[in-house]
Symmetry: C2
C-alpha cells in the first residue's frame, strides 16, 4: 500500500464546494494528466468542453435533472466521445472513412472514460473534490445543442470540480469475490454475495452522517431497471452519427 | 504539480515483462483500489476475470490478434461490462427488469473503463507496467466462450500487468487546445492542430528508441477508419443481451 493507493481508496463524490476557484494553470495540468491515460490505438477519441458561461451552467443544472452543484462547482467539464477529429485526420491521409460502426462508439466512450478518470485522480491528488454527472444523458440533444457539438461527438458525462465544503464517508463497494473471478465467470455465489452487500449497504445508509435512510443496494437499483432507461439514447446517438452499425 | 500527477504523466504501455510474479495480496489491493472509482448510480456494472490458466492465456494471445505479452505478463485481467449482477439484484427487490437498452451498454462500458483506469494507476504506483488489450474485441464471442461469460456480460478489453523489462518513451498527445474547448465545441483550428500533431508524431516515430518509422498520426489512423471497424460487434453485443434498444 502506498500514498497513491490510499488516495484512490479515499474517493467519494463531492457535491458541496467552497468559492475558491481553480487556477487556469492547475486546470491545464489536470487535463494534461488526463491526456496521459491510455487511448485505443492512439486515437484520443475525446474532447472536453469547459463550461464557464454562467447562463449555460444554469441550463445544465436543469438539463441534468436539477443537480445544483453543476452550477456551484468551480469548474464543470463535459467529457465528449469524439470521433470527428480522428475521422478528419484519416481523411487528410486519404481514407474514405466508414462511420457509424458500433465499435467506434465503444472506442470513443471508453477513451472518454479513461481520460476522465485520470483527470479525476489528478484533481483529487491536489485536494479537489469531484462528482460525475451522468445526468447529462437525460437530455443529450439539448446539451449537444447548447455546447454546439458537431456530428460524431456526443456528451458522455460531466464532471464537477472544486475545493470540498463537505466530508462525506466513502461508500462501500461490492465484496471483492463478487467482481474478481478466476479463469471463468463463476456466478454460483451471486445470491449470497448480493445478500451480503445488501446488508452492508443497509447498515451504511442508516449509519452515515447525512441523508440517512432505510434501504439497500437491490432496492436502490429496482426503479432504475424497472423502466426503459433513457430510451432516447439510441435515436440521439444515431442523430449524432453513432449509428451502431 | 505533485508526485501523483508526475506518475500519471509518465504512463506508457509496457509489452515486455520480467518473470517476477505479482503477489496475491498486491493484486487484491489493486482491484480494491479499482473498485473505489466512481460508478454510475452505484451500479458497479463490471466484473474482472483473472486468467491464470496457461492454455487459456495462449488462446487469448491468438484471439487478441497475436499479442504475445498477453501470455508473458505476470497477470492478465479481462475487464467485462456486467449488467447481469445489477439486473439480478433489482429482480430480488421485485423489479420486472427491462434489458437491452443502449443506455445500459454505455453505463456498463463506462463503469468497466473507470475501474480499469483506477486499477492501472494503482499498479503503476507500485512500479508495475501495463498494456490495455482492445484486441479482445477481434474475437469477442470466442473470448466470451473461453471465459464462460453469461448473458449481459461482455469483454470490453484486457489489461496486461507485470514488472517492466523495457523502458519506452512516453508517447506524445494532441495539443491541449485540440481537446479542451471553452463553452462550445470550436473546431475552427482543427486542420492546423492536426497538422501540428502530425509533425510532432512524425518526429517522434523517427527519434524513438525502438521500431523507428516514417509516418504520422493521420497516416496511422487511415487504415483503421478505411474499413468497417470490427463489424461483428453489433451482432455480438446483441447475442449477449446488449440489444441497443
Amino acid at each position: 500500500m502506498n500514498a497513491v493507493i490510499d488516495l484512490l481508496k479515499s474517493h467519494r463524490s463531492i457535491r458541496k464546494f467552497t468559492d475558491q476557484p481553480i487556477s487556469d494553470e492547475l486546470l491545464q495540468t489536470l487535463v494534461e494528466a488526463g491526456q496521459a491515460a491510455a487511448t485505443s490505438n492512439h486515437v484520443q477519441a475525446y474532447a472536453i468542453v469547459r463550461v464557464v458561461d454562467r447562463a449555460n451552467r444554469e441550463q445544465l443544472v436543469t438539463l441534468s435533472g436539477g443537480q445544483p452543484y453543476v452550477a456551484s462547482c468551480a469548474e464543470f467539464l463535459v467529457f465528449c466521445a469524439d470521433m470527428k477529429r480522428a475521422f478528419r485526420a484519416a481523411e487528410r491521409a486519404g481514407a474514405e472513412v466508414v462511420t457509424g460502426m458500433t465499435e467506434q462508439l465503444l472506442v470513443a466512450t471508453t477513451d472518454a472514460a479513461l481520460i476522465a478518470q485520470n483527470l479525476v485522480v489528478a484533481a483529487e491528488s491536489e485536494g479537489l473534490g469531484i462528482c460525475y454527472i451522468g445526468g447529462l444523458r437525460n437530455n443529450p440533444a439539448e446539451v449537444s445543442e447548447l455546447l454546439k457539438l458537431p456530428a460524431h461527438v456526443y456528451p458522455v458525462f460531466g464532471v464537477c470540480l472544486g475545493y470540498p465544503a463537505q466530508n462525506p464517508e466513502v461508500k462501500p463497494r461490492l465484496p471483492l469475490a463478487s467482481i474478481l473471478k478466476q479463469d471463468y465467470y463463476d456466478d454460483s455465489q451471486d445470491e449470497a454475495q448480493i445478500a451480503e452487500f445488501d446488508a452492508a449497504m443497509e447498515a451504511y445508509y442508516q449509519q452515515r452522517t447525512g441523508n440517512k435512510k432505510i434501504t439497500n443496494w437491490s432496492e436502490q437499483l429496482r426503479p432504475m431497471f424497472s423502466q426503459k432507461l433513457r430510451p432516447h439514447m439510441k435515436d440521439f446517438l444515431f442523430s449524432k452519427g453513432f449509428e451502431m452499425k
